[in-house]
């Protein structure tokens, strides 16, 4: 199981993947926006997304859970 967490305070601009999706290492899961910059959050392992903890428009803090890959 791999937990993907936020590296910084940001707004969730786009949710690209969905719960249940099979992803490869390096696939884009969500795109965050901070200080006018778009920051893609990538899958750090291949597997199935068992949980996607953010929705578009959410404000997330550093360390918040974004997704879980099984």
């Amino acid at each position: 199981m791999t937990e993907i967490r936020a590296e910084m305070v940001a707004n969730v601009w786009k949710v690209v993947a969905a719960e249940g999706d099979a992803v490869a290492d390096g696939d884009t899961l969500v795109i965050l926006e901070s200080m006018k910059m778009e920051i893609p959050v990538l899958a750090e392992a291949a597997g199935k997304i068992s949980r996607l903890a953010v929705a578009e428009g959410d404000v997330i803090q550093e360390g918040d859970l974004i997704a879980v890959i099984e």
């Binding site: 910084m8 305070v9 940001a10 200080m35 006018k36 910059m37 920051i39 550093e62």
Partner: protein
């Protein structure tokens, strides 16, 4: 002086140091700093007589300028039609070409799809730069070395253009691989004359956004400077310019030719370097010109002295340049001869993810470039910021790099330090 602010900025110095401050909305800019009606309501409620738009948000918005004037207030900026004409990169290109200002090879009409982009690029020659006609701040700009990259880049630029600027108008220009970004500060005086106050070199950029600026440009000799300043004056005259504006150009490092890039119809972030060598307060001139008065200096007696540098201190890490919001737990500015700090934050402030990462502008002046550089190295070493990560460590590296130190650098200097 009355400031307007969003909920995110309530504790910042520009609010706490103002005579009066008005809350105009929540953090998202669309509901506060871009809300023209909220700003005009604040002006009416406080009895403000004039509006200075700063250099972000609505500063280059002709519709806002018109609303300000229609409300019977003084707009501290150029005439709305000058903003309009320069706001669209395609119309600005065409207007400049007809005024005798050199422009890059490119398209004179919006490019409507990827097929047309490929056809135009065959005429212009690769590599090409794809740009949003309504764009700014480097957003949505893509370089394409071949037709496949052009097709992909066209779609990316188009979607960003729609999202950020509400327009899908796209233009394509020849991309100059080895270029310096040099711009000319102009002032349109109340009596109608347009004067030029010298150039600024802004070649040190990351993601097409400026990191460091200096004047005079180490890559511009007297002959090139004369040509650029004369062209910038023609550019301003062509749109009946009033107030402070900047004509941005690219200088081809190989041929020494310059070409018009765009005009910023507002005060710019990097205006302090011009102030340091001319001794002129540009904001004061903006206020005088908006009031219909003479400027505070004799335009015929303008003698820039010495050399000035500016570094943009951003809340971003020094390695990947990723945003780093957070609470500032320590803030200690450098000081000394020839050192100026224009800061937007101080100790205890929270840097939020909502806006630009610019924390402060660190400026030094010296009798020559070496002295300005030496003062800047010392100032960077003495600037202490804790909490958010900053790019100060990167700036120390930039100043010490052989390329920047020599003055012989181009727009690729930052990417060579951070491949």
């Amino acid at each position: 002086m009355i400031a307007v602010y969003s909920e995110a900025d309530a504790e910042l110095p520009f609010v706490t140091e103002s005579d009066e401050a008005v809350l105009i909305g929540p953090a998202p800019a669309a509901k506060s700093y871009l809300d023209a009606d909220a700003i005009l309501a604040a002006a009416e409620r406080t009895g403000a007589e004039a509006i200075h738009p700063g250099y972000g948000f609505l500063a280059e918005n002709a519709a806002f300028a018109t609303k300000v004037i229609d409300a019977g207030l003084t707009w501290i900026g150029p005439p709305p039609d000058a903003i309009e004409q320069m706001g669209d990169k395609i119309s600005a290109r065409n207007l400049m070409a007809s005024a005798g200002v050199p422009v890059a090879h490119g398209t004179a009409e919006p490019v409507i799809d990827a097929d047309q982009a490929v056809a135009e690029a065959a005429r212009i020659g690769y590599p090409v730069m794809i740009k949003a006609a309504a764009g700014g701040g480097g957003i949505g700009m893509n370089v394409a070395p071949d037709p496949d990259a052009l097709r992909a880049g066209y779609e990316t630029t188009r979607s960003r253009a729609e999202r950020f600027f509400g327009s899908t108008s796209i233009l394509i220009e020849r991309f100059i691989a080895t270029a310096r970004h040099v711009e000319v500060q102009i002032l349109g005086l109340a009596d109608g004359r347009v004067i030029a106050l010298g150039e600024r070199d802004c070649s040190a950029q990351r993601r097409h956004q400026k990191l460091a600026e200096e004047t005079p440009s180490p890559g511009v000799d007297d002959q090139l400077r004369d040509g650029m300043l004369a062209a910038a004056i023609r550019a301003g005259e062509a749109v009946g310019y009033r107030g402070a504006g900047t004509v941005e150009c690219l200088v081809d490092a190989e041929t020494g030719e310059f070409m018009f890039l765009e005009m910023n119809t507002r005060l710019q972030v990097e205006h302090p370097v011009t102030e340091m060598v001319t001794g002129i307060d540009l904001v004061e001139q903006q206020l005088l010109i908006a009031d219909g008065a003479d400027v505070s200096f004799d335009p015929g007696e303008l003698r820039p002295a010495g050399h000035a540098l500016e570094l943009r201190v951003y809340a971003e890490d020094s390695v990947r340049f990723l945003p780093s919001p957070g609470t500032i737990t320590r803030w200690q500015e450098p000081s000394g001869p020839g050192v100026r700090v224009d800061a937007g934050y101080t100790e205890g402030n929270v840097v939020t993810p909502h806006y630009d990462p610019l924390l402060a502008k660190l400026v030094t002046h010296g009798a020559d470039r070496d002295e300005a550089l030496a003062r800047m190295r010392a100032a960077v070493a003495a600037f202490v910021v804790a909490g958010p990560k900053t790019n100060l460590a990167f700036h120390a590296e930039l100043l010490d790099s052989a390329e920047f130190a020599s003055g012989k650098y181009d727009t690729g200097v930052v990417s060579r330090l951070r491949p």
